[in-house]
Amino acid sequence: MESRSHAGAVPSTLTRHQLLDEQGVVAEDPLLSPYAADITVEELQHLYRSMTLARRVDEEGTSLQRQGQLVLWVPLRGQEAAQVGSVWPTHPSDRIYPSYREHAVAFERGVPPAELMRYFRGLSAGGWDPEQYNLNPYTVVLGSQTLHAVGYAMGASLDRKAAEDSGSPLDGDPEAVIAYFGDGASTEGEVHEAMVFAASYDAPVLFFIQNNQWAISVPFATQSRVPLATRAAGYGFEGLRVDGNDILGVVAATRYALEKLRRGEGPVLIEAETYRMGAHTTADDPTKYREREEEDQWGHLDPIERLRVHLRTVHCVDQAFFDTVAAENDAVARQMRADVLAMSPPEFVDRFDGVYAEPHSLVAAERAEYLDYQAGFVAQDDSQDSDSEGVGA
């Protein structure tokens, strides 16, 4: 039962927005152009730096994993514009809910690459401090974080309203929340409930879909007959379809959406059409399910290359800039590698402290048992020099 051509399909009529075309030339888009008009060349250089840094760290991640230094790595290659372009316009006070591939988002929020690697080295299920970076930990159960994002956004609205009602309105822009997820995750039931709740409560949440065409081996055509941005109208909110390899388009669409959210107009959905240029994870082998031609085709649409050409040709940025950035990125990657290799494993006993906030009789008892048991081994080792030292290490 393949699911490609659908006789009864109702085609989508959504515009696909684009500002920076495949040749690095800026095109006009009635809706989005105003939202990218004021971007300076310095800002473009920042975006370039962020995108290339993410790619460089990504490569280092794959290499570390190949060398057995990470339990897994999730490559983001190809999605740098979608990620950097959507998070760059946010305020630090905006809460971000990533899925599990948004490394560029994390770096842009200030998470040091090595800190993120704690997750992939199997040392932590979280990694960074969510409060410090206003960035939720990665969520692996597809789509589950979308509901958390909506709830958090509802809370932000409630806070603002409470402050207004109490006569001391909050300063600054209203907060916005971004929920990232993929084309694959979009078909999970919880994502639907997230959209329903967000629409019902006008939650200031941006549903940001990176449609990278694949959900492991499942092609987008299996997931949907139409672009995912089409779905938003079914909930009565706006959906934008944007070239996700176009950093300007993504920035502009995100700014447009964030403004709307901050005005209290409720959720917006952005579908950024991009491509996962690498494997799903280091455990994956994409040659099993997709053609080299497709990869090559998307290779020509590389978001970084496009911005590079734009910087060079339109803004006359010289080679020195690109070389410096590459060297800086190399340095960051080297430092990250060193930091990762120097990380010491966590103590298992600390797990007993992380699960409950308040005292818990069973956990306390099991903690004591565990320590007793470990002590038994140490005692045994001391006396018998047995070979069970490595137990559980």
Binding site: L147, V150, Y152, H192, E193, V196, Y356, A357, E358, S361
Partner: protein, 324 residues
């Protein structure tokens, strides 16, 4: 002190928690204008406003999942699942998110939320309205589970659950919603996670919780007429379980019967039997016996009394225990 039904004690407990902490809010289907299908939240929307009592769209994952976000944001959300049998659409959120977010973040994020689930049978209803799924949540670390059996506990446990920095599920014994009891609004009954010896005895112990507690008490009284002194423990907390109290009792009585509405197979009775047997092995005069429902889906109302253990089945188990 006032005399309240269990339902009204919950209403009062929720109201007090909302009064004392403006961050407490309620989410659920039909809990606002209607006051809930059991009227447990009656009046709260009128009193605290639509921004604190949310009549949500229909979606249990939505209710629980948005509550996670609200809790992380600093609220104290209290979710109502309309009936036990409708908890499962939220099962993923409860099991993989509510329970695990704190451990995932190594304690950096707490999820102080409460999930209220009216549970249990013998209410003459249709499918999915009479189940006792507590064992399906107790197995998952990161959750806490309370179940009151009387108005006083109902009043306080709601507040204690809401005040707790961990997620707490409260299984509310819906067939006891109309059971009246004294509520002492001044003095809290203390640790909600401790079991209570509610009837002392020397010959055998019966452990029960929620809706089965009155049945266990009746069994103790009936046994007394036969000259047997039966101790009754209201477990109160199903996760964690206060094994110290149960073990101490069994060490004294030498016999234990556990009664619950959920099917015996895979129910929490097994956990209690196993752990108490381990801890009181040399005190046991008989194996721990369990009285629960059969390994069948909850049956139609006409025959539900055959399915859920009643006084006679508890007494019969006590007889079997004494026969050892």
């Amino acid at each position: 002190m006032s005399k309240l039904t269990v339902a009204k004690a919950i209403t009062a407990g929720l109201a007090r928690a909302m009064e004392e902490n403006p961050k407490v809010m309620l989410l659920g289907e039909d809990i606002g204008s209607l006051g809930g299908v059991y009227r447990v939240t009656e009046g709260l929307k009128a009193r605290f406003g639509a921004h604190r009592v949310l009549d949500t769209p229909l979606g249990e994952a939505g209710i629980v999942g948005t509550a996670v976000g609200l809790a992380v944001r600093g609220y104290r959300p209290v979710c109502e699942i309309q009936f036990d049998g409708f908890t499962f659409p939220a099962f993923n959120q409860i099991t993989t998110q509510v329970a695990k977010l704190r451990a995932r973040t190594e304690g950096r994020l707490s999820v102080p939320m409460t999930i209220r689930i009216p549970y249990g049978g013998v209410i003459g209803s249709v499918e999915h309205h009479s189940e006792s799924p507590e064992a399906l949540f107790a197995h998952t670390a990161g959750l806490r589970i309370l179940t009151p059996s009387n108005a006083q506990d109902a009043y306080w446990m709601e507040q204690q659950a809401i005040a707790c920095d961990d997620p707490v599920i409260i299984f509310e014994p819906k067939r006891r919603y109309w059971l009246k009891g004294e509520v002492d609004e001044e003095n809290s009954p203390g640790d909600p996670f401790a079991a209570a010896v509610i009837h002392e005895g020397t010959d055998a112990t019966v452990v029960a919780w929620g809706p089965m507690v009155p049945v266990a008490l009746a069994a103790a009284k009936a046994a007394e007429e036969d000259g047997r002194s039966v101790e009754v423990i209201d477990l109160r907390s199903l996760s964690p379980i206060d094994f110290d109290t149960v073990t101490a009792s069994v060490r004294r009585t030498g016999r234990l019967v556990i009664a619950h509405e959920a099917p015996t197979f895979g129910g929490l009775g097994g956990e209690i039997a196993a752990r108490v047997t381990e801890r009181a092995f040399y005190s046991l005069e008989a194996p721990v016996l369990r009285v629960g429902a059969y390994h069948l889906p909850y049956p139609p109302a006409a025959v539900e009394d055959h399915y859920i253990p009643d006084l006679d089945r508890v007494l019969e188990a006590l007889d079997r225990s004494f026969a050892y």
